[in-house]
Subunit: 259 residues, 2 copies
Amino acid sequence: MDKIFVIKIGGNVIDDEEKLSVFLQHFAAVDGAKILVHGGGKLATNLAEQLQIPQKMIEGRRVTDEDSLRIVTMVYAGYINKNIVARLQGLGCNATGLSGADGNLIQAHKRVSGDYGFVGDIDLVNKQWIESLLAADKAIVIAPITHDKKGQLLNTNADTIAQKVASAMAGTYKVHLIYSFEKEGVLLDADDDASVISNLDKKNYDNLKKSGTIYAGMIPKLDNAFDALDSGISKVVIGRAEKLDELISGKGGTTISNE
Amino acid sequence: MDKIFVIKIGGNVIDDEEKLSVFLQHFAAVDGAKILVHGGGKLATNLAEQLQIPQKMIEGRRVTDEDSLRIVTMVYAGYINKNIVARLQGLGCNATGLSGADGNLIQAHKRVSGDYGFVGDIDLVNKQWIESLLAADKAIVIAPITHDKKGQLLNTNADTIAQKVASAMAGTYKVHLIYSFEKEGVLLDADDDASVISNLDKKNYDNLKKSGTIYAGMIPKLDNAFDALDSGISKVVIGRAEKLDELISGKGGTTISNE
């Protein structure tokens, strides 16, 4: 069974020119089938501020109204996606950037619960379309924008897209899902990069959640990771984007397992 | 030989919700292979104004500096491209939106003459990539952003992209190139839509240019059209975007010929 890497890159890395540059060099060097899913970073927030578009929040979560959707479509599917693609092309990697609307790559529906506006929950990943691109030796770069196949674009969490795309490829491929971000991995002490947990299983995770060692932003990320393992993905690794080579070779980051 | 339609849609049509909607319905209904190349419209200019980015001009031509490139990448490759794709998907047309960087679709180099900034002159259209998308029954929607394959995105005229893409497909396909915009076609009297010239050959064109009947914005468009015919394209039609069905069937607009 062929191997495929589905790699999520976090927003904080995209905001940092030097880190992004190192990451892209590593990504271009990855051998074989690969998919990059990128988040947004501060660019969208900054643009919204510059345009004086107020960010609506409900219970701490951002609401994607029409103006915000316009911003994220421009920034994620336009500026970030096309710059990453052009830079990968410059590094000799034949990348193609897509949103979920392109070739009906990712079909979603507008979230029903809560009033989050134009936020999409994923219904379908177009595995056939991904396979035909990979067969033509193309690396795929996915922006976190989906659509409902009725003409409406939707804002969708990039971590979730990475997990759903990885799950869709499982069975046909041996899938390695990598969440790369600004930390070494899952840390026992959030302020100490040396405290990275090399291997995290479900039981340890539950204990660390109970004790409050793992909290806040890491929880949805790790929940996604364990969901991914449940859906047949071979390996999930979380770690530092600039060390993507080590995350790929298994020498760095936190490896998540169900055992 | 299979037929292909390469259709350029002008910026003024994109700015007009009602016209765009009618155009997209006609485009979705076109039978067989089709490529849509879109321009930008006022959205990019408006966004630049809102962000207080001054538009630099040299001899009446816009200069694409770094800030302007960021704007057009966001607006053309992001907002406009993805909205058109999502709406076509909603109309049952399996569209995929691409910039010139995606899969190295259109390779260009930064213009040498004049100081126009990040403006790209086209070197290469990736015919093989286009053919593989068309073979998978995908309609292609191209944003007027290219790249130099060294990591740099470039702003490129949409009329020229349409012409170069159409030329690249000639020989393998019977190519119909359609420039659709806000007028009935080439007019003898710019203020009278009824004065449309049904057929325009090179000799008539030269005469009408000399007499000043055809001037300003129409000249580069028509020069592109005649260049296209020289490169083996079967037919070039210029006319109203909302009447795309008539331009396709040959009942409306101005048909350009070399005879």
